[in-house]
Homo-oligomer: 106 residues x 2
């Protein structure tokens, strides 16, 4: 499986609410991610709003396309969009930046 | 095991050399990390020099202390320090910022 790391920028004035929402992600959103092949998916938040995502997947494009095809993802992303600053494309799941892996030790 | 995510800032003018060094980390440094309980350890680099680390460990403090006790870590960190900007404490292994995990889906 490929290791994916991405970043986004949460608005610093919305961090608490962002945390609360992610402590209670909708069960159908969780189920959709699992079905779409997102494994061991974590989100980490820095005090200044830097958000780091990490997950494992067989195929990044396929995992994004599979989420794109679900109705729950469109609803979730629309609710999350106002939490982010500088969001290219207006949607968190399309605006994120994938980082280059420069080192790995298993 | 606990999932650890941290960030550091690499100097934008040193990114290529940072990549090259991390494609050839000293074998004794890799061995020391394994012995110290760093598992599934990745480093990801963004174009602006943001460096994201991710690893699994039983105990963060113990994993740092175990590296601190090795001779190779002191040599490695001394060689790496000039690659970083704004390094509190002057050493990458003590200056990194651990992020809060706000979401996880296994």
């Amino acid at each position: 499986m490929r290791r994916i790391c991405f970043t986004l920028q949460v608005r610093p004035d919305r961090l608490d609410e962002y945390r609360r929402r992610h402590a209670a992600v909708w069960p159908d959103m969780l189920a959709a991610l699992r079905t779409a092949g997102w494994h061991d998916y974590s989100l980490f938040l820095r005090d200044d709003g830097l958000l780091v995502g990490y997950f494992l997947t067989e195929d990044l494009d396929a995992s994004l396309d599979a989420m794109e095809a679900t109705e729950v993802n469109a609803r979730w992303q629309a609710e999350m969009a106002p939490f982010f600053a500088d969001l290219p494309g207006g949607r968190p799941d399309r605006g994120f930046l994938v980082l280059e892996e420069v080192f790995h030790l298993s």
